[in-house]
């Protein structure tokens, strides 16, 4: 098997419980490289918890997670970012009192000026800072945010914040981009451009995993769909396969949707 065929991210036997609730119980998950994978499921299915486990923001009770062939179970989130795995959040985390360009520059890894002693001597980092700024401006351009460059991120609309968060994530030059509900609260016009931007990522050698509710969005951009319900993976396949899967429809709409309730044997 060549590297290209190996899954970039795997999770085996991953369990997370909160008190008596088994929030996540995933036997096997394998994410294909340079593809867009959607993680869908009804509310409370454990998608975000699973996301937090994969990105190191929460710890598994048992199980093993690997990224690019290396075990990453229990690794701190900032180390994962350094390894090439970046995430965004369901509730957008634009850093309100930093300007848009500052938000962007923050995303760059291995900055010399981020060391305290180096900070005192700008000559040791200004050149790198300029390179980072140029890269940030290029990405802002692509995300159509150049107009907001020097404004506080806190003045952006909800949709722009989603764009900024994704743009900022790209500043880490990730191989795996994990987007938690990137379309939530984004107006349809902006959502379309966000989708186009996501579609470009596999071509740049980046794998995308995203959590989503909207099946239309999933149909449009996902190569592969994983369906979760009650903490488990109940189905996976191409968008078309999943759409017609009875288990999935039942999980989303209830087993008896569309039936006359008086005729249903609820026992």
């Amino acid at each position: 098997m060549t590297v290209a065929d190996q899954p970039i991210l795997t999770a085996y036997g991953v369990v997370k419980t909160f008190g008596g609730l088994r929030a996540v119980d995933v036997d096997k998950l394998e994410i294909q490289r340079n593809k867009i994978t959607a993680l869908i499921g009804p509310n409370g299915a454990g998608k975000t918890t699973f996301f937090n486990l994969l990105t190191g923001f929460d710890q598994v009770d048992s199980g093993e997670i690997t990224f690019d062939g290396a075990v990453i179970t229990g690794t701190a989130p900032h180390r994962l970012a350094a390894k090439g795995m970046v995430r965004t959040f369901q509730l957008t985390k634009a850093l309100a009192k930093l300007s848009t360009i500052e938000n962007m520059k923050l995303g760059a890894l291995d900055q010399r000026g981020e060391k305290f002693w180096a900070a005192l001597f700008p000559s040791s980092w200004t050149k790198q800072e300029q390179a980072i700024e140029a890269r940030a401006d290029a990405i802002l351009q692509r995300f159509n945010l150049t107009g907001m460059r020097d404004e506080y991120a806190g003045t952006m609309s909800g949709g722009q914040r989603k764009l900024l968060e994704m743009a900022r994530a790209l500043m880490t030059d990730p191989r795996l981009v994990m987007l938690d509900e990137p379309m939530a609260g984004v107006n349809p016009a902006l959502a379309q451009s966000l989708l186009e931007l996501i579609k470009l990522l596999p071509g740049e050698g980046r794998t995308v995993i995203f959590v989503e509710h909207n099946m239309d969005v999933v149909q449009e951009i996902a190569d592969w769909v994983i369906v979760m319900a009650e903490g488990r993976i109940i189905a996976q396949g191409t968008p078309t396969e999943v759409k017609s899967n009875k288990t999935v429809i039942d999980a989303y709409l209830g087993a008896h949707h569309g039936e006359d309730l008086s005729q249903v044997d609820l026992a």
Partner: protein, 334 residues
Amino acid sequence: MDWGFILERSFSAMIGPEVVVYALAAVGLNVHFGYTGLMNFGQVGFMAAGAYGVGVSVFWLGWNFWVGIVFAFVYAGVLALLLGLPTLRLRADYLSLVTIAASETIRLLARSRVMQPITGGVEGVNQFAGPFYDLSPFELGKFYSFGPFKYLGRDVWVLLVGWTLLIMITLMVRQVMRSPWGRTLRAIREDEDAARALGKNVYFYKMQSLMFGGMIGAVAGVLQVIQKSSVQADTFNPVITFTIWTILIIGGPGRVWSPIVGASIYWTLIVFVENTLRQLPPGLRATLEDSIQLSDFNIAMLRFILVGGGLLLLARFRPQGIFGSREEMALDRR
């Protein structure tokens, strides 16, 4: 009423030793709270660490004064490390609890009978600042006047050294806060998880911030006890911490010059109100003494009440402080 005297005192307070000491402590707190969002309610503990660091090492251990000063900074840094280790991984409130408890522990321990052989107990430590004053180009006991300002020679020397340090440290803070290091601190203040997701070791940065600001607090403590020529445990009570917070809020947190301007406004007001109350015309004074018991002791209390009233007005009409931006303030409410 002797307005000339009141104004002379007020002007001298404007850039006096208290301003330098409190501004330095507030620069440290600004690093913690203004830039990193750390809720340190024990800044006075770092001042005490600096004060006892130099006082005890020189007076009791017989160390060279300058070595004692270096020790004071190292000691404050170690204190910050010890306080940060268990708390900086937890939610913000834990740091507040631990810092306020630690600052009181330091004070109570220093004044306790058990520690008397080392800290001098309630009597404290003195006779350690000689080498500092030996270098003074001014006559220690003589009064010097510069325009409306008037100080004893020893204070002129303290002020010269103190302001130099204060300006240098403020410029240093400005420099590091403009760097990527400072940007990361501000990002942590806004949202720790976002910084973490972008590969920043949040715990490490918060620790650096706590140590840096704590050591600046120690500079304030060292300067204070040099000026007083004695270390007294009870001068390091929690009220000092809250005064430092007041000063930072007057100036506006997260702004480079806020600590200096905040401290200057605070002390000018306090001294102006106190001296005005003491200088009231005899008739009015007698009436006030009878009606609201305006004794000398109560004047000391009343000045805090009046300054508190001023703060309320500030909070109502300029909540962002002198230097803060209303625009940034508005972002918090979105």
